[in-house]
């Protein structure tokens, strides 16, 4: 019983990280129809910036804020320099552009930071909490609550605020949105900024547990992309559920079947789900925007 609980704790912790990354994917996709393969780079920028600032003696929370700001700035630059000029490009071009951007950012980080592995101490110490035979790190709770907070915020923002509705309107019909007076360019900038901020925040929160280095972005993006598609692209609920599901599948497979094939199990589940429901768990039908 305590075993199962430990597996669940592990799965939810890891899944919450995937979910946060997937929420970043969702944000950009909703506004622009682009799946941003450079999303993992935001996570790394957040983690590395925080690690370097903390190592320089900057207080943890200030470092965290600055790291999120750094990620946000890169997100806006990514939109302005790489995505906006390529508007209306076919899907495959957008995939190549965002992958190209991720390779570029990796190269840049290798210059700005270094090639070492970094971490800093958890925000609430390192003493594990024990309950019913299972243990959890305080930082894992930060990660889990952080992801839920991001989810709740995005859901509220997109449906309840003027700016959020502007983004949704821009996504569904750019021309019509512009005609009713929505500043579509601003809406796009905002969605990239938010997405990058979410990614960088995920990096800031997870680095004490997962560690970070300049080149882990691809793997993070792959997991986040998988979670996004499992949940159904464009749906915040889908991103959350997809992320948690993949985390749980991995930990339960590692715990009960074979740790060798835990990543394979996640992909098999994705393939099976897509064969049955080609639009993912929470996706809308006919979301094709290519």
């Amino acid at each position: 019983m305590s075993e199962l609980l430990q597996f669940l704790v592990s799965g939810v912790t890891v899944g919450a990280i995937y979910a946060a990354v997937a929420l970043g994917f969702t944000m950009i996709y909703n506004a622009s129809g682009v799946v941003n393969f450079a999303q993992g780079e935001f996570v790394v920028i957040g983690g590395l910036t925080a690690a370097f600032l903390i190592a320089m003696g900057v207080p943890v929370f200030l470092a965290a804020v600055l790291a999120v700001v750094a990620g946000t700035v890169v997100g806006i630059l990514l939109y302005r320099l790489a995505i906006r000029p390529a508007r209306e490009a076919p899907l495959v071009s957008l995939i190549i552009i965002t992958i190209g951007a991720s390779i570029f950012l990796r190269g840049a980080m290798q210059m700005v930071f270094d090639k070492q592995i970094h971490r800093y101490d958890g925000f609430s110490g390192e003493t594990p909490l024990r309950f019913a035979g299972a243990t959890i790190l305080p930082q894992s709770l930060w990660i889990i609550f952080g992801s839920f907070a991001v989810f709740v915020f995005l859901a509220w923002f997109m449906s309840r605020t003027r700016a959020g509705r502007g983004i949704r309107a821009t996504a569904s019909n750019r021309l019509a949105a512009a005609l009713v007076g929505i500043n579509t360019r601003w809406a796009m900038n905002l969605s990239f900024a938010l997405s990058a901020a979410v990614g960088a925040l995920a990096g800031v929160l997870s680095t004490p547990v997962t560690f970070t280095s300049y080149d882990v972005g691809v793997l993070i993006a792959l997991k986040g992309f998988s979670a996004t598609m499992l949940g159904g692209v464009g749906s915040p609920q889908g991103a959350l559920v997809g992320g948690l599901l993949i985390g749980l599948i991995e930990s339960l497979t590692a715990g009960y079947i074979s740790s060798d094939y835990k990543d394979a199990a996640a992909f098999i589940v994705i393939l099976v789900v897509l064969f049955v429901r080609p639009e993912g768990l929470f996706g809308k039908k006919l979301t094709e925007r290519v």
Binding site: E3, S10, Q116, A254, G255
Partner: protein
């Protein structure tokens, strides 16, 4: 015919980039994983070589001839490594090559060096590189099989025998896992649990929970390098597991203690003397190279060197020693002199090559260390 023009332009660009003036007298090549999944290993290796070449030229070179290093980044990709090996041999006309950070890159290059008869010193771990012995191929790191033997020796010395393995799925962890399985029986231990994790996994508590729950488990061994072992160590501590915990030589550097923090207390691992420069006996032949390497590297780069950088240090000095003894930079003469190396004290161990031994180290060069109070302490045996 725009296309042909474009191709012609491409080819001439290629030609331009490789035409470098022949200033140096002795050209040594290197193909290392400076970036990519093995950058953690390759980066300090490259830094070490660059530093050593600078150093030796400042001292007047080898046999009075200047040394030039031609270094390529293969990103641990065997495909690229083979191309760069061809380039080093054909275009750069090097007399010897150091490199192959990863086993894959090394093995892809080996046939070329055998073919062109150029001496090659690999920095990768696996046994297959030197078994069977290949005429022109040498290597400086201990094999992963030796690491397993060393760890099992220590485990049995403590009167324990039931071991759980938790291995990284990267090349290093996977290869060492296979070796540990194959030498377990002869070493008198029994592998009772066998789990793995991916190189970027965030949490290994499920695997460790399973190992800890295995009947009669007496020790845990974690083959792997990079961030994985540090995460495993933290999870081991988080779960409050009590049985002795062993890491591999793959994490033998100060950065492991930094990453794993207090959780690393009590962890044991087989390592090179590089980690305990001040605890080496006055008459230890490795004392001098270890201390001078650490001092030079820290001065140059402001960080402490890693075991992997040490492999490059030894490879370079073995080569310099061979060229000096040969009195010539002819590849064949270098190879012959390399094979006659005897009692060469490096930072990894004391090397004695022979016609059937192109590694030249035995178990005694490994030191079993334990992490205590955030530092390395040799285990008395």
């Amino acid at each position: 015919m725009t296309k042909t023009k474009l191709i012609a332009a491409g080819v001439s660009a290629l030609a331009l980039s490789v035409a470098s003036p022949a200033l140096a007298q002795i050209k040594i090549g290197a193909s290392l994983a400076v970036t990519g999944p093995a950058a953690f290993l390759g980066d300090p290796e490259a830094k070490t070589l660059e530093m050593l070449v600078e150093e030796i030229n400042a001292q007047g070179g080898i046999n009075g001839e200047e040394v030039e290093l031609v270094l390529y980044d293969d990103g641990a990709d065997p495909n690229k490594a083979r191309t760069f090996a061809t380039r080093l041999i054909e275009e750069d006309e090097v007399v010897a090559v150091i490199g192959g950070t990863s086993t894959g890159a090394t093995m892809a290059m080996v046939p070329l060096f055998e073919d062109y008869e150029i001496p090659f010193i690999s920095l990768a771990g696996a046994v297959v590189i030197i078994e069977p012995t290949k005429e022109y191929v040498f290597k400086t790191p201990h094999t992963d099989r030796m690491a397993c033997r060393k760890i099992f020796e220590d485990i049995t010395a403590r009167g324990l025998s039931k071991v759980g393995l938790i291995s990284g799925t990267g090349g290093f962890g996977k290869s060492m896992r296979e070796q540990c399985m194959s030498v377990a029986e002869e070493s008198g231990v029994e592998i009772v649990a066998d789990e793995t994790y991916g190189p970027n996994d965030a949490d290994m508590t499920p695997q460790l929970t399973n190992i800890a729950g295995t009947d009669g488990i007496e020790a845990i061994v974690n083959p792997g390098f990079g961030q994985g072992p540090a995460v495993v160590t933290r999870n081991y501590d988080q779960l409050g597991i009590e049985v002795p915990f062993y890491q591999s030589h793959g994490v033998a550097s100060d950065s492991f203690i930094e990453l794993a923090g207090d959780a690393a207390e009590g962890v044991r691992l087989p390592a090179t003397p590089l980690l305990i420069p001040d605890q080496l006996a006055e008459d230890d032949p490795q004392r001098e190279p270890v201390q001078s390497y650490i001092a030079a590297y820290e001065e140059q780069y402001g960080e402490s060197p890693s075991t992997f950088g040490g492999y490059a240090y030894d490879a370079f000095h073995l080569l310099v020693d061979a060229i000096e003894r040969a009195g010539s930079s002819d590849p064949q003469a270098i190879r012959d002199a390399l094979e006659e190396t005897e009692g060469h004290a490096g930072v990894t161990g004391v090397y004695t090559f022979g016609p059937d031994d192109h590694l030249g180290l035995d178990l005694s060069s490994f030191r079993m260390l334990e992490i205590q109070d955030g530092g390395w302490v040799p285990v008395e045996q």
